[in-house]
Amino acid sequence: MSASGSDRFDVAIVGAGHNGLVAAACLGRAGLRTIVLEAADAVGGAARGYEFHPGFKASGCAQILSLLRPEIVDALRLGDHGLRYAASDLATLALRGDGKYLSLNDPEAMAQESPADAANLPDFNRRMIRYANALAPSLLRAPPRMDFADRDNLWELARFGLRLRMLGRRDMRELLRIIGMNAYDLVTDEFESETVKASIALDAVMGNFMGPRSPNSVYSYLYRMAGEIDGNRGALGLPVGGIAAVMGALEAAARNAGAEIRTGATVARILIEDERAVGVVLDDGTEIASRIVVSNVDPKTSLLGLLGTEHLDTEFVRRTRHFRDRGTTAKLHLALDVLPDSLRNLPKQGQARFLLTPDLLGIERAFDACKYKTVPASLPMEIVIPTLADPSLAPEGKHVLSANVQYVPYALAEGNWDGARAKLREQLIASIDAQLPGIKDRVIGAELLTPPDIEAKFRLGGGHWHQGEISLDQIWTLRPVPGFAQYRMPVSGFYLCGAGTHPGGGITGAPGWNAAQIAIADLKSERPQ
């Protein structure tokens, strides 16, 4: 059957994750007739809003907003569409048992912990943010190809080099040195307090299959430092209504730009005709014709599942299969009926995140356990209680505790998660209770999402935060597959726009934005036709 005439969309987007929505808004604004097809009953992908316990709201895997590119916030006027912050500069509190903590943002507390570290930490943060921002402009550009014969590519590479040089000679040298380093070495060189070292190392490895001693973990840290909120670089925020509300703002922006969004519409496969993507087929058999198809789904599912290996050459298939995308970060949501006393006395309590972590070697040991597919004895966590800043997320007087749990293996060496999930949930609650006493008795509902749960619930293959490891061999011009980092896939008219493409995951909106620019240029020049 040939799709034709006025039924035909310009663009069909598979999946309404935040990148799919950003792409839809950009494409709509460019005057292209765009439809977004989402299998779930609401938009947002892995940041989708739902009640994990009656009256208690969660935003999927997301809990902190920081990386959303300010250029996108401005261009899509997300402020007008409802983006507001309940907290926009979270302090980092490292828990040290029995309700005690060290605030990394409190100069006096830091001076008591270690005068040397207190002096160095603000400088360290400034340096890291400076390096992160030297890399940041490339976040909103398609990676150049390594084709030196092409002047545009050569110019793009020269621009990249020049931007690094603009840092100044000293900083450029330091950035080129540390970018391939491991977090363990970096924090050991810089700090003496075990708490400070472990806190920074945890931020470096969170979301990735890496221990503090894994090379490339410093890159992952810089990537996570590249965010900004209202011009405040490196800031961490909690949006009003949770991250799910940001998904709502993106949805509004997309609809406002003329895009059609259909939820409950599961794409079964990509329609191929004459070796070109010409639309999608839903699981109920409905065909939706479009000039091009853009997939927000993870690379493996998009290419090996929805598209199908019969349309790809074996080398490309082999590369795609080896894209490392097994998640190691779980998500815990707790519904609390009352705030325990240990949390009442915290200053600026709504403006903080808690790091629950063993020391540096303890984090490495937890990684080792995960490496061999066992559950670590002590799991590092990043915890927020968003209801302290935004009470609307729970019934009155009640609270939500949300935690990213690092080093939960995707698969277990023995048994499976159905047998082990409840035990891990209790282990985590006990571990939080030891740090914030009283939590355990206040839990009236709990949800633990292991990586396979995340995979199933959000249709996120591998259950990985970033749809695939953020490591030097899987970023930039190598992401997701070398030679195909410019969002165009080998089948004409088929594009990827998810976190599995440059620059990666987190709520950045960048892959969606970049893919849309490429698609718009191609459609305007009729390139893939």
Binding site: R145, M146, D147, F148, G161, R165, R169, M172, R173, E174, L176, R177, I178, I179, G180, M181, D185, D189, R213, S214, P215, N216, R318, H322, R324, L361, E364, R365, D368, K371, Y372, S471, L472, D473, T477, L478, P482, G483
Partner: protein, 533 residues
């Protein structure tokens, strides 16, 4: 007092290469060595009557052919005997043999996995491509990517040229190869544990990383980029032990009549006046003057252990202290009464036994061995690289007897419960010997004499900080223009007239000679004396 044009601190192989090329360029050179013998980690010692021990480094491949030819080392007595196979012995009677003969290798791989045998040719081709690409860089000075001086920009363009000539697709492969782990790389090609374990060994030898740590694929390359007699990636034994290389280099240097080598002469001070080096002082107080001083010591030792009469700036000292030079290897040198019988392995006419004999059953096995190291234990189940050079070189042991070198990965520089002691060292030795006994029953009864060396002994005898065999980790933060630290990668030290020529410099460790040669190129450039020849 006699004045010298240049003083080399330390008679390691790179110091000797540097001395030889400087003397050939007409400089009066003095080499000062702390120990009683020259060679650093490339030495032969008779530690048991009639047996020659290659005490530290034990095989040869990386020595640059340009240096071999340029200094005419064969004429000075160096003969490299290539070996034609290797083994990965398991304790259950099975093994993987590898042969330089392609058909024989293929048959052996097929015995384990038809699919892996198919993949091996693709794998070998890819590794060869990466080697060919990197080899021309070894004898180049890394450019400074931060400099905007026209000369440096030209150097950068020149250095980048091979990258652009690779072509787009190959360039991606190279970018991945330099940043990924050997585990991920091998998993893309092979399915069989014993094959992956066998091939991964070279990626972790001397390196404080596990096979699944990113960056280890590059370390593999570092071991494959050598050659013996034009055969890329081949390894061999220096006849008479590794000391023969040092002796040949010393002979080449002394033949010029302008190079003096003194042993038992420990340099403690670098004499600096008005920001310029003037000479060195020894532990016994004597002084030697020269306008050029070249350190063969590792970077950390050069910066933090030598006394500088004009202080170095604090930031540089901090960088010296933070230089990543981790001890991760140990060594056993053993005199044997006869040839051990490795389970299931034929001894007669088997070239596989003449080369490296690994104990490396799988990637996971090596990864666990690494995990022990991270927490200050020697690997309870270590990776072993055993060679028996006396099989190919009869000068190493009396007839019918054998010298065996056992390289052990991973061994920490200090242990979780404190520093090394003789008791702990012996316990470590026992761990290794009982493992070899499992591979070759009856082995223990063949031992006539053994020497066990932890990183502590390597540091204290040879002078390599933490016993690191490469004079510094070969990770991205310490390669090319980052080696040893950004801004000092061009062989020039922190004071005028001071140079560094050890393996802490590009392109790094192994008995290669490249850092020594590259340092002389920069020295002669500064002295306006043309190129080394």
């Amino acid at each position: 007092m006699k004045r010298y044009d240049a003083i080399v601190v330390g008679a390691g192989h790179n110091g000797l290469v540097a001395a030889a090329y400087m003397a050939r360029a007409g400089l009066e050179v003095l080499v000062l060595e702390r120990r009683h013998l020259i060679g650093g980690a490339a030495v032969s010692e008779e530690l048991f009557p009639g047996f020659t021990y290659s005490t530290c480094s034990y095989v040869c491949s990386l020595l640059r052919p340009e240096i071999m030819r340029g200094l005419d080392l064969p004429r000075h007595g160096l003969q490299v005997i290539p070996y034609e196979g290797s083994l990965n012995v398991l304790t259950d009677g099975d093994f993987l043999a590898s042969y330089s003969n392609h058909d024989r290798m293929r048959r052996e791989l097929m015995r384990h996995s038809r699919r892996d045998a198919e993949a091996y040719d693709r794998y070998a081709l890819e590794i060869l491509r990466q080697c060919k690409f990197i080899r021309p860089m070894l004898l180049q000075t890394p450019p400074d990517p931060t400099s905007l001086r026209p000369k440096d920009l030209m150097d950068l363009v020149k250095f980048a040229k091979p990258f652009s000539e690779l072509g787009e697709k190959r360039l991606y492969e190279t970018m991945r190869f330099w940043t990924m782990s050997i585990g991920d790389f091998l998993d893309e090609y092979f399915e069989t544990d014993v094959i992956k374990g066998h091939l991964a060994g070279s990626s972790i030898i001397g390196t404080a990383l596990g096979p699944y740590s990113p960056g280890t694929a590059y370390v593999l390359l570092h071991h494959y980029m050598g050659e013996v007699d034009g055969s890329i990636g081949a390894w061999g034994y220096a006849r008479g032990g590794m000391g023969s290389i040092s002796n040949a280099l010393a002979s080449a240097a002394q033949e010029t009549g302008r190079c003096e080598i003194r042993c038992n002469a420990e340099v403690t001070d670098i004499i600096v006046k008005n920001g310029r080096v003037k000479g060195v002082a020894l532990a016994d107080g004597s002084e030697f003057l020269a306008e050029t001083v070249v350190s063969n010591l590792d970077f950390r030792r050069t910066i933090t252990k030598l006394k500088w009469t004009e202080a170095l700036d604090d930031e540089l000292v901090r960088k010296g202290e933070n230089f990543k030079i981790r001890g991760s290897s140990g060594k056993l040198n053993i005199a044997l009464d006869g040839l051990p019988n490795f389970k299931g392995v034929a001894v007669k006419n088997n070239p596989a036994i003449s080369g490296d004999i690994h104990y490396s059953p799988s990637l996971a096995y090596i990864e666990r061995a690494y995990d022990d190291w991270k927490y200050g234990h020697w690997s309870k189940k270590p990776y072993l690289d055993i060679v028996i050079p006396s099989l190919m070189d009869p000068t190493m042991a009396p007839e019918g007897k054998h010298f065996m070198s056992v390289f052990v990965q991973y061994v920490p520089p200090t242990l979780h419960d404190g520093p090394w002691t003789p008791e702990k060292r012996d316990a470590f030795g026992e761990t290794v010997i009982s493992l070899i006994e499992d591979m070759a029953p009856g082995f223990r009864n063949l031992i006539l004499h053994k020497q066990v060396r932890s990183p502590w002994e390597i540091e204290n005898e040879v002078g390599l900080t933490e016993g690191n065999i490469f004079q510094g980790e070969l990770t991205l933060d310490q390669l090319l223009f980052n080696r040893p630290v950004p801004g000092l990668a061009q062989y020039r030290g922190p004071k005028k007239g001071f140079y560094m020529c050890g393996s802490s410099m590009h392109p790094g460790g192994g008995v290669m000679g490249a850092p020594g040669y590259n340092a002389v190129r920069e020295i002669l450039k500064d002295l306006h004396r043309g190129a080394p020849s």
